[in-house]
């Protein structure tokens, strides 16, 4: 029988790192404060003591250096897992991500590959200072050569992280920090993977398909429950991987109802909801009974936290968005 532990999402991330490092000596983590401090969210707690400073590396404060060094390491066959302290600080490393991480393989016809997993806590809602609440997954999803994974449960977090670390392609692994400690789940102690590129249906429903991921999964499920009381039956699909999208799952869920809503906290314009809408109508226009609704963050810079509750989609806004799609 599989032993399990009751873990939060961030503990599951830590456990995923731990088990992958134990499995494979080539795996190492590097980043700011990941060592003795165990990460500002404790995602690497205890790893320094367990694996030592060569495999759990506190780096200087320089994101391009972190990502760029990880590129060099990965090209030489290691499996680096660089951490960027908050996804809002990935931008100083953006050139390395776009110009190198995403394209080393394509450029060299697979001769040089950089199978690194770039982790970052992401998203809003924790009353953080400026620049600490970004959700810009769309930037990475637009870069061919990258995979982009966003877990929404402890179980998935560990399994998707393991899959990412083992994946031959580089993965941007965004961890919704709003739910880092929001709830616990039984997580197997042993290593396992959850496949990249596969969405999962969190709730079955016949009236409308709601697509979401990350921290928005919970208010979406909440909205679905409320609507169920009104007799509106929502399917809720957690995408888990936002690049490449699980097109088959999206199309199937959509065609079952002809109505869809996409929920994400990233800004609307240019966000993934647009892409998902486009792919739905590309594949399934004839099934479409209503416009695909988008319940998203607004097209504004993420505000200081006194206003973040208005910025982020809430269960109420999601409900209204779903109702609109159903009543169209």
């Amino acid at each position: 029988m599989t032993e399990t532990q009751n873990l939060t999402l961030v503990q599951a991330v830590r456990d995923g790192l731990y088990t992958e490092m134990r499995e494979d000596d080539d795996v190492l983590v590097l980043g700011q404060d990941v060592g003795k401090n165990g990460g500002v969210f404790r995602a690497t707690e205890g790893l320094f003591d367990e694996f030592g400073g060569d495999r759990v590396v506190d780096t200087p404060l320089a994101e391009s250096g972190i990502v760029g060094c990880a590129v060099g390491m990965a090209a030489m066959g290691l499996r680096p897992v660089p951490e960027i302290q908050f996804s809002g600080f990935m931008y100083p490393g953006f050139d390395q991500i776009v110009s190198h991480v995403a394209r080393f393989r394509a450029r060299t016809r697979g001769q040089f590959t950089v199978p690194l997993t770039l982790r970052a806590p992401y998203g809003g809602g924790i009353r953080a200072p400026e620049h600490h609440s970004e959700s810009k997954e769309a930037l990475y999803a637009h870069e061919a050569g990258l995979k982009v994974v966003i877990p929404s449960t402890p179980h998935d977090a560990k399994g998707l992280l393991a899959a990412s670390i083992r994946d031959p392609d580089p993965v941007v692994f965004l961890e919704p920090k709003l739910i880092y400690r929001a709830f616990r789940e039984q997580v197997p102690e042993e290593p396992y993977t959850v496949p990249i590129g596969e969405a999962v249906t969190r709730r079955e429903g016949d009236d409308v398909a709601v697509f979401t991921y990350g921290a928005m999964t919970r208010p979406t499920l909440e909205a679905a429950e409320t609507l169920a009381e009104e007799g509106i039956d929502c399917a809720v699909v957690d995408l888990r991987t936002v690049s490449p999208l699980d097109r088959e799952a999206i199309v199937e869920a959509f065609e079952a109802t002809g109505r869809a809503v996409v929920v994400h906290e990233a800004p609307k314009t240019g966000g993934l909801a647009g892409e998902i809408t486009a792919l739905i109508q590309e594949e399934s226009l004839l099934y479409q009974e209503a416009p695909v609704g988008r319940v998203t963050g607004f097209d504004v810079p993420y505000p200081l936290y006194a206003l973040e509750d208005y910025y982020l989609p809430t269960a109420a806004r999601i409900e209204d968005g779903i109702r609109e799609a159903v009543e169209f």
């Binding site: 700011q32 401090n37 200087p60 607004f298 097209d299 200081l304 809430t314």
Partner: protein, 367 residues
């Protein structure tokens, strides 16, 4: 001889740890000295109150500055009236010296958008959270000043960790090339969260990084406000009115220590020893300057008590004012992204307003 002509590892000093004079005291009047003292006391008290507000859930994450008052106040006090500071997120004290209000500083850490506004006529750039990203701003702003022929000097603050970022390198390098009137003031507080100074870089001093840019670099005892004053004053003077061959920009490494946590979200006991903290506490800038000023007869028990109570009431008033500030209106979200609100954004605002209308604010705010 210029204060810059010294080995990089020989910090400028004025007072020793007991407040005894060991270097050239800057040529300022007593009121200025008392003011530096008062500002340090203000900052220290503000800091303690802010940390406690955070503990009580009345404020979000806050980065304390205790221990660093000497560097911040000493440098900011040495600037001219029209000069600017370009801070990181920890320079509340420098901001106060330059006229930034305590209330807005509190509001900022309370997540209120008004906290990011600067009082009219106060020459302080908005807080920069992404490490070192303000360095090129300071270069560009001071460059603009020199293109326009104004006399303004820009003092840019950043930490020891910031020196590892590309933006530090690019910003200071541009300053060297374009010979801008900029003072790059590094608050080397020994730690970048949990990463010690020695792990940031193998260079023996941060001051010597100036070599890479062909500008002057100098260390100063950052817990000696008078030494900081002196070296900043010299850097400002040179920026404003350079000698023939001397570059205008200067890199100052102010050696200091943060007594507290990196932010209220941080637990420093995980990564550093109490012993170390204790050793640095002996260099506390406040008793040092106080001892000197008492020995000079500039301060006495009574004036110290006066300062103390003035500082306490100022901070208390500011907290009261901040806490009674109205919550920002959600429409604020949409108003300032662009000079004019684009039609789609207007629509988004209407959507939000409609939900609030029908559901009330309870749909957004946890109790």
């Amino acid at each position: 001889m210029s204060v810059f002509d010294r080995p990089y590892d020989d910090p400028v000093r004025v007072l020793d740890e007991d407040g005894a004079v060991v270097g050239e005291v800057p040529d300022v009047d007593d009121e200025t000295l008392v003011d530096i003292y008062r500002q340090m006391r203000l900052a220290r008290h503000f800091d303690a109150r802010a940390v406690s507000l955070q503990r009580q859930g009345r404020m979000g994450t806050y980065p304390p500055l205790s221990g660093q008052e000497g560097a911040q106040v000493g440098s900011a006090a040495a600037l001219g009236d029209d000069d600017w500071i370009v801070p990181s997120y920890r320079e509340h004290a420098a901001g106060f010296v330059r006229g930034r209000s305590l209330k807005r500083t509190l509001l900022y850490w309370m997540g209120h958008p008004d906290g990011n506004r600067v009082e009219d006529g106060v020459n302080v750039f908005p807080v920069a959270v992404p490490i070192a990203s303000q360095v090129p701003h300071a270069t560009g702003a001071s460059w603009a000043a020199s293109l326009r022929g104004t006399d303004e000097v820009f003092c840019c603050y950043f930490g020891d960790g910031a020196t590892s970022e590309g933006d530090f390198h690019e910003g200071v390098n541009f300053a060297g090339v374009f010979d801008t009137p900029t003072v790059f003031f590094c608050n080397n507080n020994q730690w970048a969260i949990s990463v010690p100074r020695a792990r940031q870089t193998r260079s023996a001093t941060l001051a010597q990084k100036a070599e890479a840019y062909g500008i002057d670099g100098v260390q100063v005892d950052g817990m000696d406000p008078l030494a900081v004053y002196r070296v900043t004053e010299a850097a400002v003077e040179k920026a404003r009115d350079p000698e023939a061959d001397r570059p205008r920009p200067t890199l100052i490494e102010a050696i200091q220590y943060r007594f507290g946590a990196h932010t209220t979200a941080d637990d420093p006991t995980v990564y550093r020893d109490d012993d170390e903290v204790e050793r640095w506490r002996e260099k506390d800038p406040i008793p040092r300057l106080e001892a000197y000023l008492r020995s000079e007869g500039v301060l006495d028990e009574e004036r110290v008590a006066e300062v103390e109570s003035a500082v306490e009431s100022r901070v208390a008033d500011a907290i009261a004012a901040a806490e009674s500030t109205a919550r920002p209106e959600p429409r604020e979200l949409f108003e300032h992204a662009y000079a004019e609100v684009p039609s789609e954004l207007e629509r988004q605002h209407e959507d939000l307003a409609a939900v609030r209308e029908s559901r009330g604010d309870a749909a957004f705010l946890e109790e």
